[in-house]
């Protein structure tokens, strides 16, 4: 028995020592590589997508660097056209806005950080971010609230979509001081825009296979304004008999979200309530650092984080969480029909979070943004064979 063992051991050692093992090993790797190469898109030079990039303020530039690093490591065929528009840093002007708009007209797709809105205003009540939204007519903001596997919060396995009308409502920037000490702020609701966002919500729900759309409003108090919004939603709901339609008052909605968020599926609402619910829902799954979002118009798509905060306290300290921006970048790749790269990036990010070893400050860890990006890049290389 011992002799047989020694013989087999000798065979093993010989096979290990010989060139055959290396050949075998390298051959299997190259097979897998060639298999994957068949699926990936062709060589870079012909098929590079151009995307407008707007780093914004606060930690925006750091997050954009993270996206660029991951894209470079993953060999993603996307090139960025950078623009630096910032109200707080005095780098905003009409010309820059025009340049940005013409770049958008060419590229149609953008990725951006948050352009901070200072509280003091110099003449114009509308901030640059709002003007950009209006000029591009980005009427729908979609935020994907998904619990991250491996990171548990008080409510796990959440899967909500929050659709918010972004161009009118309370953010119309129409304010005036009628009498000294009395200020009026106008909230405008129109039938056309309410119908448009309702149709967008139902179309989105249909496309993604969702079952229920809930309209959030305060029509018991603002009978005409939110009443009109609700009426439009109800009208559009009748065109989609397969999707269940409900409505809920905003304060009850907030209460239900913290007690039982699983009753909601897709939520649609006007501007201000959208801001509140976006941030609330982001807090439910882990904060502003983990929720991706995008804004759509009829012609353009802009990808950003879900809860839009410049997070100026973290600038230069390398502690911001790039998860939200990376997941949003993955969504952007899917929008550009680069399915393979999209999966690659989002899987890598999710794997890093699930492993739990590398986590930024907001998720309870001690790592820096750089560490996290490095971990994501590492996970990119070990992608499974499809």
């Amino acid at each position: 028995m011992a002799v047989a063992l020694k013989r087999s051991l000798a065979v093993l050692v010989k096979s290990l020592g010989g060139p055959k093992w290396w050949q075998q090993a390298s051959r299997s790797v190259s097979i897998s590589a060639s298999l994957s190469r068949v699926e990936s898109p062709p060589a870079r030079a012909d098929a590079t997508f151009k995307v407008t990039m707007l780093p914004g303020d606060g930690v925006g530039p750091e997050l954009m660097t993270a996206v660029k690093d991951v894209f470079k490591a993953g060999d993603v065929p996307v090139e960025f056209d950078e623009f630096h528009l910032s109200e707080v840093q005095n780098m905003a002007s009409e010309d820059k806005l025009e340049e940005l708009l013409s770049s958008m007209k060419n590229n149609k797709v953008a990725i951006k950080g948050k352009i901070h809105t200072p509280m003091e205003f110099k003449g114009e009540l509308a901030s640059y971010e709002m003007r950009l939204r209006r000029k591009l007519d980005l009427f729908a903001n979609v935020v994907h609230v998904n619990s991250l596997p491996g990171y548990s919060t008080r409510h796990n396995n959440l899967d909500l979509v929050i659709i918010r009308e972004q161009t009118e409502g309370e953010y119309s920037s129409l304010e005036h001081e009628s009498v000294p000490g009395v200020i009026e702020c106008l909230k405008i609701i129109t039938r056309a825009k309410s119908r448009r966002i309702a149709k967008f919500a139902f179309d989105y729900a249909t496309k993604k296979g969702r079952n229920k759309v809930t309209a959030v409003h305060k029509a018991n108090i603002m009978k005409l304004g939110d009443g009109l919004f609700l009426q439009c939603c109800a009208e559009v709901a009748q065109l989609y008999p397969k999707i269940k339609y409900e409505n809920i008052i905003i304060d009850n909605c907030c209460m239900q979200l913290v007690q039982n968020p699983y009753q909601f599926d897709v939520l649609v609402m006007p501007n201000l309530y959208g801001n509140i619910i976006d941030n609330l829902a982001a807090g439910l799954v882990g904060g502003a650092g983990v929720v991706p979002g995008e804004s759509y118009s009829a012609e353009y798509a802009v990808f950003e984080t879900g809860a839009r905060h410049p997070f100026a306290q973290a600038v230069g300290r390398n502690i911001a969480n790039p998860t939200a921006m990376l997941l949003s970048a993955a969504n952007m790749l899917r929008h550009l029909n680069l399915e393979y790269h999209s999966h690659m990036v989002s899987d890598a990010v999710k794997r890093v979070i699930k492993q739990g070893k590398v986590r930024t400050r907001d998720l309870g860890g001690y790592c820096t943004t750089g560490d996290f990006v490095h971990a994501v890049v590492e996970n990119l290389r070990h992608r499974p064979n499809y």
Binding site: R154, T190, R191, L224, G225, N252, C254, N279, G283
Partner: protein, 366 residues
């Protein structure tokens, strides 16, 4: 019989000498009269429960029951019955159960009428986690103070052209100043460390900017209380992640409505949340904010906790801290024991049993 009439007459005479804030209880047993509005649905049951518990605690409160329905006064304006108004104006303190607003009744909601009649400008909702009623959020201890008269709920709406509606959000210097002053006073009277102003002044630069400016001015006058300001979306984001970082929050009408309900959800819902409305001229009405629950009315299933905690808030407002503490402790102990709980708290007992358990605890404490 004559004795009580004499006593109530004396208290009425004494009451006329009192100004805004009633005096704390001293060795003379001074009965204070409070207007009680039982309300609709489960209102009468829970009001009875509260009265029973107060009796067991020997609280020096005399109840004057009034009913509030909307009636059309001279000139066609909707108003509350004159005897209710007179009672409130005299007593200054009121406790109100849930009122129902029938849809398409033609008159505005009862709560709105009360608010307009007594100029109830501040809505105060303390949210404290209840030991024994488990929610995913523990250690919540904050107070939301909401401006209740103007803001987005001014009710001024116009149809400009067909398909375009305009709602006006009104912010005035006077109202903002009043609510800011009240917030700091409340913080000082209740030993609260900080006041946070919640706003959206980056978007609504003029209106919320004015509100914020007034809060800052009030902060200057009250330097012993820490003042911070935070955007509404940041507050929402942080509130659901870590509610312990907040103390007193002051904000305009709409944000207050949403945030106060959000905080109520954190501690377990409207069935256990107290609420108080402070008005001009020293008027204060404490109420339970849940609905009338017509499906369980009259069946002894109701949970009186919200109204009871509001009544405790009322005792504190009147300076009767010891009684307030006694009743509150009894209530929390009963809930913590989990032996006698109403259906919405997870138990099987009736309202009367729950009330009796609290009364027993209160008597045991003496």
């Amino acid at each position: 019989m004559a004795g009580t009439a004499w006593r109530s007459a004396v208290s009425r005479v004494l009451g006329s000498f009192k100004n805004g804030s009633p005096q704390p209880r001293n060795f003379i047993r001074e009965m204070q009269t409070v207007t009680l509005i039982p309300g609709d649905g489960i209102g009468p049951e829970i009001s009875n429960a509260v009265m029973k518990i107060f009796e067991a605690a020997n609280a020096p409160i005399e109840w004057e029951e009034r009913n509030v329905t909307a009636i059309k006064g001279p000139g066609g304006k909707w108003m509350i019955p004159p005897d209710a108004k007179e009672s409130m104006d005299r007593n200054k303190i009121g406790l109100k159960g849930p009122l129902k607003t029938p849809i398409a009744a033609g008159h505005p909601s009862m709560n709105l009428l009360l608010r307009k009649t007594f100029d109830l400008y501040a809505n105060v909702r303390p949210c404290v986690s209840i030991e024994g009623y488990k929610t995913p959020y523990t250690d919540v201890n904050l107070v939301t103070i909401r401006e209740n008269t103007e803001g987005e709920y001014s009710g001024i709406e116009h149809l400009i052209v067909d398909g375009v509606v305009q709602s006006i959000k009104l912010i005035t210097e006077q109202a903002s100043e009043r609510i800011a002053e009240y917030a700091f006073e409340y913080a000082r009277n209740n030993q609260r460390a900080s006041v946070t102003a919640v706003h959206k002044a980056n978007i609504m630069r003029m209106s919320d900017g004015l509100f914020l400016r007034k809060c800052r001015e009030a902060a200057e006058k009250h330097k012993d209380v820490k003042f911070t300001e935070m955007y509404l979306d940041t507050v929402c984001l942080n509130m659901v992640q870590d509610p312990t970082q907040f103390d007193v929050l002051v904000m305009p009408n709409l944000y207050g409505d949403i945030l106060s309900d959000l905080c109520a959800g954190l501690i377990g819902g409207l069935g256990v949340t107290p609420s108080g409305n402070i008005g001009a001229n020293g008027v204060a009405i404490f109420e339970s904010v849940h609905g009338t629950a017509p499906d369980i009315a009259g069946k002894d299933f109701a949970n009186p906790t919200a109204l009871l905690l509001s009544a405790v808030m009322m005792l504190r407002h009147m300076g009767l801290h010891s009684h307030g503490k006694k009743i509150e402790t009894a209530c929390f102990d009963t809930i913590r024991d989990k032996k006698v709980l109403t259906k919405d708290l997870g138990g099987n007992s009736k309202c009367s049993e729950f009330t009796e358990a609290i009364c027993q605890k209160v008597r045991d404490m003496d």
